[in-house]
Symmetry: C2
Subunit: 244 residues, 2 copies
């Protein structure tokens, strides 16, 4: 029996896309997980994991938004990742993490004990293979962000961030732009994600509003009115930005 394990394909029975983690979708070899499944919820603002914590579980984010962040002693913080629904939290083979995971909105996780999960990996090579690919995907994202943090201007950073949100929104299978999007973070959090200050984020968003690239209906809800202009503003290759 071959299953597309840990794919990003949405499971028809539950909101989780990582099918190996989602017990609803498990194949014969994954039945063991069913018994270990548990849901955890966190309130907006709650810490999910602190830097240095011992990891006892791996999880799939079912609902909500969480951030991975690093903080320096003097308070400077840098987000190193953003977790949206369907994202995987876990470091198979690792017992510690080197950053904080914080719930930005109310968050629901579908959790599995780490030990049995690792036992599963140890016995099923194609699950392990899929996990390598997932880790490499995350690595690609991290490296793309390194280019952003090291070399992009404030405007390019903001444009890239919005562009990424649009792309992720459409991964789920929704149709093309011109539809309402939501900023999942406050402007201060966006600033921490982009290596900027909140004032700069406000000014740049304001400028894009004024230029007619974005249109806000609400403090958080907006549309991309001029997608080509948005893509141009990212500074990325002129080819790679098409939807679909």
């Amino acid at each position: 029996m071959t299953i597309d394990l840990l794919s990003r394909t949405k499971c028809s029975e539950c909101p989780i896309r990582h099918r190996a983690v989602c017990a609803h979708c498990s194949g014969d070899e994954l039945d063991v997980l069913e018994q270990l499944k548990s849901y955890k919820t966190f309130k907006a603002g709650d810490p999910i994991l602190w830097r240095g914590d011992t990891l006892t579980f791996v999880a799939s984010l079912v609902q909500g938004v969480a951030t991975l962040g690093k903080t320096m002693e003097d308070g400077r913080t840098q987000m190193v990742g953003l977790l949206l629904p369907s994202d995987f939290i876990g470091r198979p083979g690792r017992s510690q993490i080197d950053f904080d995971v914080v719930a930005v909105t109310d968050v629901t996780l579908c959790c599995f004990q780490r030990k049995p999960f690792e036992a599963l990996i140890a016995s099923t090579p194609h699950v392990a293979q899929r996990l390598v690919e997932m880790a490499l995907d995350e690595l690609d994202v991290a490296r793309e962000w390194m280019l952003l943090l090291g070399r992009k201007t404030a405007r390019e950073k903001i444009a890239t961030f919005i562009h990424m949100l649009v792309q992720r929104q459409h991964l789920g299978g929704a149709e093309i732009a011109q539809q309402a999007l939501v900023l999942p973070l406050t402007q201060e959090q966006i600033a921490n994600y982009l290596g900027l200050t909140l004032e700069t984020v406000s000014r740049q968003l304001g400028a894009m509003k004024k230029e007619g690239i974005l249109q806000f209906s609400d403090r958080r809800r907006f549309e991309v009115v001029d997608f080509p202009a948005l893509h141009l503003a990212t500074g990325d290759d002129s080819d790679g930005g098409m939807l679909v």
Copy 2:
């Protein structure tokens, strides 16, 4: 038979530390690799892989230094990784890369065809497991660099870079500081790694020389005279910086 696959432990018969990749050290199940092993060499400055290239092999870097870099259309570049001896190049399950790999010095790679290597992974779960861990290690490094790029000052960036060099030098098993180190990159390359300009790198290195933290015998060869001061200058936690 249990082998410490893909560990960073140095093989006694060759300079490669990833034992699964180093055919000298292979166990029974790895004999297949012996036949596929081949060495490739590159001159300083040679491209090893271009962004978008199809990957036909995985490899271990035996000798020399190479960089992983991203370049924007207007020429801005950001290095997203540094490959030193014992580092692994390869993306099992991935056929393309999204950055350039360039030899900084003369480079020797120990290469294996990707397909047979992936077949090996598919049949031996603990190799796959080790690869997950390696990818997660790289991810940790990338995220540490995100903090550096997004939030650290020029001085902190330089100090962190030197600090990292010292740490890596000592991973091999050498004794404590106060010994000659070599900058593996030009100041322009360091600038591209740290999200700075070459002038800023020059000025900051000059300042640390003047302050008696570093001492250069040569343009490239130097010693860390005041390691505590170096560590302090990184801006990192006051605890985590000890050698050993």
